[in-house]
């Protein structure tokens, strides 16, 4: 049984002129446990919306999302929050670290709403990403590459079954991007987490064995996919 199964997923938003604008219409998608899949997607193709729907941040208009045997599309917001806190790790293009929190506190925060804070595990994760000497540094005291490594550690803090990465290398130079991507993939593998990464960067996509094209998955932007 796949870790993630999506069927007939639809999401639309209201445009400023009041009309409904469908941004996502995915008939079927699945992801196996511990798999690592890259989704190619350009701006405006709904890749962030897709990840937000899987994470339970957004609720679909129609369709079904089953994650680790739980139909999260049928859950209320409270239960979706709980599911996200315990099952999903999220890596953002802009890192989204909390500026008032140290590296260690950011990682601890990643586990606080799920399994509960485990200081030793948080320190081990930061050591794994090479920041054992930056535990008490604030994000502003780190380079962008280091900030992304904290974000990776935070995404794995709740021992997720699935890590979602939204353009995780978009703000990094090519050397840091390569290192970050390698780190993300290795860390997910070591922690037994599946990885679903979206990007428009050919270099990034080229490093994945499995790469899918969102334009083909999403009927809302690609009549061909119908």
């Amino acid at each position: 049984m796949p870790l993630l199964e999506i069927t007939s997923l639809k999401k639309s938003f209201r445009a400023p002129d009041g009309s409904q604008h469908t941004v996502l219409d995915v008939p079927i998608f699945s992801l196996e446990e511990k798999a690592q899949v890259a989704l190619r997607g350009e701006s405006g193709q709904g890749k962030t919306t897709f990840l937000n729907l899987i994470a339970g941040i957004l609720k679909p208009d129609a369709g079904k999302i089953v994650l680790a045997g739980q139909e999260i599309s049928a859950l209320g917001e409270h239960d979706r929050d709980r599911c996200r806190a315990s099952t999903i790790g999220y890596i953002f293009q802009t890192f989204n670290l909390l500026q008032g929190y140290t590296c260690l506190e950011n990682v601890l925060l990643g586990m606080s709403f799920g399994p509960g804070a485990d200081r030793a595990f948080a320190q081990a994760l930061l050591k794994r990403v090479g920041l054992e000497d930056k535990l008490h540094h604030y994000p502003r005291q780190l380079s962008t590459g280091q900030q992304q490594r904290v974000a990776v550690a935070r995404a794995l803090a709740n021992k997720p079954k699935l890590v979602l990465a939204d353009e995780p290398t978009g703000n990094l130079d090519s050397r840091n991007a390569t290192e970050a991507l390698k780190l993300i993939r290795e860390a997910c593998r070591e922690n037994g987490a599946a990885l679903l990464l979206v990007s428009h960067d050919r270099d990034v996509l080229g490093q994945f064995e499995t790469t899918l094209d969102l334009a083909r998955l999403n009927r809302a932007i690609s009549p061909v996919a119908k």
């Binding site: 701006s43 890749k47 941040i57």
Partner: protein, 400 residues
């Protein structure tokens, strides 16, 4: 990372506004508690001050003025009565003690009161407690000797053996110095009563002071009276307080002081209202401060939500933050209260001799912090609702 940690982080991140709003709560809370304690403790303390007497006999006048002049040594004397009036009430079988008072002179603004040694030897300020001397002895009748109240001794540096010239009137005036020289023979221990602010001399000393009217020789200002039983007060009140009488018996002293406080109840209400409004404005400042910071916090809230925080957790964090600011403010409010009460108690003691106890427990010390923290938490609901409604996807990253 508990809710407590998230709140603590937010307080530190917004340190300036936290300190400013907590300070406004501290001032408001300190003011609120001070107003209540001063109001209630003043009433309780002043109505208990009777100098060990039940009543004051004086010239036909307001009982309040008689009590203020004879017991609290405030206000001007409403006029004099005859020595024979004193003799008459002193010999009344229902009267246990009667002590005459004569006023009209001062030394450096402190009132000089003529009386008899009975005031120090027979009158009990409280059961079994008479005036005690810290140094020296009680004056002898017929001599130019003085016993000085503790507060006067402290302020003027008077001690046993010191000499001084009385001045005429209740306010110090260099041009109205009497020629007589009095010598200090005793200093009273603090009694925490208006007697601490008085210089006591023999009755005849004041009656015969140079420059006083000749008639003053046979006059006194008032008589302090202690009854053998409470029923005597009613009997003598009926006797003296006749429509055409020339004397007034002010009895009972505590009730008359309470009537004075009743007359200024409106002032209490105004002060309560002002203090309460200040407190409300302070709690509103918490609302404004957190509400205004909500725009900059939206991204942070979205990140917390993306990490799995429930809307309820975010809502609670903001409410607890508002309550925490108020709690910090109320801790500091006790320092503000201490300063205000220290100043007020000092002024009250200097002006009346009555000692307030700023650090005695009062219920306001419980309900004022509870009320301000509670109202602040309620005020926090407004920004908390804004936080609760924060759209995660919209504030996390732009929708592609």
């Amino acid at each position: 990372m508990s809710l407590f940690h998230i709140v603590l982080k937010s307080l530190r991140q917004h340190l300036f506004s936290t300190v400013v709003t907590a300070a406004s709560i501290a001032l408001a809370g300190g003011l609120l508690m001070s107003v209540w304690v001063v109001k209630e403790q003043s009433r309780a303390t002043f109505t208990q001050v009777d100098g060990g007497f039940d009543a004051v006999l004086g010239v036909r006048s307001s009982p309040v003025q008689l009590v203020l002049n004879s017991v609290f040594h405030l206000e001007s004397s409403p006029g004099n009565i005859q020595v024979s009036d004193f003799e008459e009430i002193k010999n009344d079988p229902s009267v246990a003690i009667a002590v005459p008072l004569a006023v009209g002179d001062n030394y450096h603004g402190y009132r000089i009161v003529g009386t008899t040694p009975d005031l120090f030897t027979k009158v009990e300020l409280a059961p079994g407690k008479t005036h005690k001397l810290a140094a020296g002895r009680v004056f002898d009748e017929g001599y130019r000797e003085a016993v000085v109240g503790s507060f006067v001794a402290q302020r003027l540096g008077l001690k046993e053996g010191d000499e001084f010239h009385p001045h005429h009137g209740f306010a110090h005036d260099d041009d109205h110095e009497h020629e007589e020289i009095y010598v200090v023979v005793g200093v009273l221990e603090p009694s925490n009563t208006p007697a601490d602010r008085v210089i006591w001399i023999p009755l005849e000393g004041l009656q015969l002071m140079s420059g006083h009217r000749e008639e003053a020789e046979n006059e006194i200002s008032a008589v302090l009276v202690k009854f053998r039983s409470p029923i005597a007060g009613k009997m003598l009140q009926a006797k003296y307080n006749q429509p055409e009488g020339r004397l007034t018996l002010a009895w009972p002293i505590g009730t008359i002081v309470a009537q004075l406080f009743d007359k200024v109840t409106w002032l209490d209400r105004v002060l309560e209202l002002i203090a309460s409004l200040v407190a409300l404005v302070a709690t509103a400042s918490i609302l404004a401060s957190i509400y205004n910071s909500m725009n900059e916090r939206r991204r942070e809230i979205a990140i917390l939500r993306a990490l799995g925080a429930h809307r309820g957790t975010i809502f609670s964090a903001v409410v607890v933050e508002a309550a925490s600011i108020a709690a910090l403010g109320m801790i500091a409010a006790f320092a503000v209260y201490g300063v205000i009460m220290g100043v007020v108690a000092g002024i009250v003691r200097a002006k009346t001799g009555v000692v307030l106890e700023p650090f005695a427990f009062h219920a306001v010390m419980l309900w004022a912090p509870a009320a301000l923290i509670g109202i602040s938490a309620l005020a926090g609901i407004v920004p908390a609702l804004k936080a609760y409604r924060t759209d995660v996807a919209e504030n996390l990253v732009p929708v592609s």
